[in-house]
Symmetry: C2
Subunit: 282 residues, 2 copies
Amino acid sequence: MRVLALLDGTVVDPQTPLFRADDLGVMRGDGIFETILVVNREPRELGPHLDRLERSARLMQMRLPERTAWQRAVRAVIDAWPWDTAGQMALKLVCTRGIDGGDGTPNGFAMGMTIGADTIRKRAEGVTAVTLERGYATDLMERAPWLLLSAKTLSYAVNMAALREAEARGADEVIFTATDGTVLEGPTSNVVLARGRTLLTTPPSTGILKGTTQGALFRAAEQAGWETRVETFPREALFDSDGVWLASSVRTITQVRAIDGTELKADADLHAELTRLYESNY
Amino acid sequence: MRVLALLDGTVVDPQTPLFRADDLGVMRGDGIFETILVVNREPRELGPHLDRLERSARLMQMRLPERTAWQRAVRAVIDAWPWDTAGQMALKLVCTRGIDGGDGTPNGFAMGMTIGADTIRKRAEGVTAVTLERGYATDLMERAPWLLLSAKTLSYAVNMAALREAEARGADEVIFTATDGTVLEGPTSNVVLARGRTLLTTPPSTGILKGTTQGALFRAAEQAGWETRVETFPREALFDSDGVWLASSVRTITQVRAIDGTELKADADLHAELTRLYESNY
């Protein structure tokens, strides 16, 4: 099931072509996006997602339709979604730089998409992952802003290729590492690690995306008395931890059961506790 | 002027939307492309461009329509182009992985586009460039194929951001360097350097695109008695040379007059000679 809305709030047939061949989004992946989880008509972390969309637009030096237009499109998709048959959806916001050689008017849409049974199952059952080199140093972002590290652009071919590599190795997911072995992020997720009653995640200063779901989990965990730390940690720390999770809007808090073929502590009670903490936000 | 043809050879209105919102090309820059120079109805280096498109598809593990389909679309655009008013065009071949969640049928097109007066002027007058870090080591490609180095994917947001950075610094072009200072490539070109009667360019094993225009120049230069070398050289070599050029299909052989604010030797006779060599292929 797919429901497509334009930024003026019109709902249109998702099978009707929407983008010209010379849209810069088509020709060069020149645009930005967000993916939002909507449960029972309520978009989760909509504010942080729109904040991040605006941040990506700034890093890309591209015009972005105003916030109210995105809110209108989100509402239109939610109103048109068949909630009686599907209680959750992944809501994608996409914005391109517009037509090549045009006046810079961006083209955007909001699209609600079914969340696969496989994804929902993994939230409960966990995943296996491989670590893959991302090829970057952790201090690159600050000195090389043209590399668009930390912007959520439409140029996601590498993220998809990494997931194919994981599949070829018999795993579900990827955890990227920096040149010095620092854990970065997944292709579409943030990495969270537990050590006793402390949760850790990698700082955005390494060039990764600031996680909206990770942020929601940490917010709830702090209120429940957990310590939270945003600091770098090496690949080895994944194995020497009380649990590893991938946090993403659609997968929510997914437990990692094994990395590079090595089983991890994957405590079911701890997973249930973190899931409860995350869900307590809504 | 834009002329758009589908892979069945149909010419369609370029202003009519062609891609669905959920095409993977739109949503994730998940596809590949080539840009070919066509002069007086003759596509230059069509074979090498189609070879490279096929190589990119292999690296991306995506299905690609057969070669005859691309040749048919190229012919359709050339036949429909107004040659009496525009003697050259840039011909773009684009292929996406198709619809998200679909059966993997790729979506492609060929589009002829006017070459701007600015581009044609730069072929004669040269450009200024800045060097920018690409953030990668030169040995990364071989050990990390999931990073898609050397594939010409639609995920070109970084290439475009680098060109904006050049513009912000008052320059026309970018020359990327690796972490060890090795000269890599431009965002849409290869770097060629002259030392006496020797031409040098960076090897594709560093993760750069194999240049079709650079290849044509080297082919002609060898026949004319030049020595050619495909080997790495450091940023400093740019300044300690008898000339630097950017080779690309649409810009052909563009001389670099200054890099990072430092004037280079930009000998007009040598530029004329290299241009003549390149043109002698056609």
